[in-house]
Symmetry: D3
Subunit: 129 residues, 6 copies
């Protein structure tokens, strides 16, 4: 395992907490070898590029996922991730309100519903750094 993978694995843990391990287990049971390539590239290279704070990267990620509209599971994971790295619920809400101008109001409504569920879990202490 190379350094990219190790650094990516660390960043995945920072963002996704225990969800990250379950994601990897799920992938490995269906598509052997894919999670290594993916984590090294996505979390070990792309997300670690300089030029954007990790908090801003998480908000950008939420904007992209909510705009697509078909990635509810990933959206909830990154709403939790944004909270873990230090974004506020208010910032996440503003991102979801903003993208509705471009991706349509259902993208905002469904995004806010997903975020609300994650905020509730967080209040109950289920999201921890």
């Amino acid at each position: 395992m190379d350094k990219r993978y190790e650094q990516g694995r660390d960043l995945l843990k920072t963002i996704a907490g225990a969800h990250g391990d379950r994601l990897i287990e799920g992938l490995d049971s269906v598509a052997p070898g894919y999670s290594e390539s993916l984590i090294a590239f996505a979390f070990g290279e792309i997300c670690r590029r300089p030029g954007l704070e990790l908090t801003t990267r998480e908000l950008i990620t939420i904007a992209a996922l909510a705009s697509l509209g078909s990635a509810n599971h990933q959206l909830k994971l990154h709403v939790g991730g944004a909270l873990r790295v230090g974004c506020t619920p208010a910032e996440i809400v503003e991102v979801l309100v903003q993208i509705g101008l471009y991706a349509g109001i259902p993208a905002t409504l469904n995004g806010l519903a997903a975020a609300g569920e994650v905020f509730d879990e967080h209040d109950r202490g289920q999201i921890r750094r």
Copy 2:
């Protein structure tokens, strides 16, 4: 004309410069009355909500537009807008690189091509506050 519209019109000018006037003229010639409602809502209310810096809002907007993939004209307008409100080209590039993980590599490649064109115009002094 109400205050929402006036404030929206000001913000549109800040973001889009002279492109804003042309956008309004184009809309008014086809869909009378729409630009007033749209500008008051989008730029006078949504984009002026507290909780996100305007620079962050422009990066979020770029993330959404590039993820959709079918809004090249609007993407270029907001790349210019991001530069006008103080984002750096490097930040815009990182946003476009990041969203490729979620919206696919063509979204990044086409977004970077569009951004590159706007950066070139900017270097030649064609984007001014």
Copy 3:
């Protein structure tokens, strides 16, 4: 609260019945202030523009939501809305069949499944003006 909001709130009630109140409550608990702007714009201005019957607007809305494919909740709300304002189930079905040519057969199949659920509720008296 301005007149746009009041008129929008009335139209939302006409289209969504009691679902409208729940939508607003849900939004207000996560994104304070957003439902006022949204309802005044979407239902108070855009949907009240002259030039299209409200029945046609609801069919157009169903066409857009089914084509997007990622707005099942909103699609069901507007299928109920179309019935409330006087569209027939047969018209709604034809809209969903037609858009499959452009948005793909899964958009039609999933749209028909959603519509069928709303028609069933309607037959059981759960949708009332």
Copy 4:
């Protein structure tokens, strides 16, 4: 050639005028046999189902194509088709304004720009039944 194809070909001519012949020629040069199946199904069966006026079907089609955002060529063809079968420019504009609530403002802006081009051609007498 069966009756479905003949009726579909007639309807295509009604909607698309001379553009229909060019569409078929283009398809036949690349994908032999496809245009026969497609026209018999799309224009000979689906678009001829009872339950919706042809004018409403064209407005529905415009709503779907504008919502997708990546079908500019087809959108312009059906804006012309809507005019040919008797829809007014004002109705077409309202459809494009309405779908922006669901598919995002760029879908409306790009749709209105495409419609404006077709309206201009029509005024110059280039669209004839």
Copy 5:
């Protein structure tokens, strides 16, 4: 019932097994007459065109459905169909991994989750030709 429909119905049975009958029943209860047109066109004409093996057609179909991201039900049906006509789970997995480059990583992750569920059912003997 014409020959195209009969051949389409046979191919649907080959691909979808008993799911095909349920699909038709569901459609006929909401949109009378549509399933006949659809099956004759989609399975009786398009899928029976020469030039691609049926196994390759099913892999292409999985690529399209997973890329769209909003057709989970249809994706699972065709993962089962691909297995029924002789594709291996490993081939299906590679298709889902490949399309993530273009449609984004969530398309791959959600596609693999759906495929994993179908593979599990298959192992338990629930998918039979």
Copy 6:
């Protein structure tokens, strides 16, 4: 430069010919460092996974790109790539016809138009391995 990158670069050359170099130059001028990560991951790892012939991978890629509808440039590059690695024009056409069932007829029509342009260039000897 690691082995993944070298192997990726070789595969990019096989698929894209001289277009590959121009792609890299364009990326490097806007987003320094991105092309190395991308090529090593996409062409050096994902596309080189065992389990699918390269010809099938290119057909899958065409299916994904045509389904998205907003990646015309990448679609043309991979139609050329499919021809370079040994797919026939007839196979490419069938892929584009098939995906229209799921992604809508405009995806097929626009895909066939793009493919027709690449086939013409190929006939004139402009695509060479």
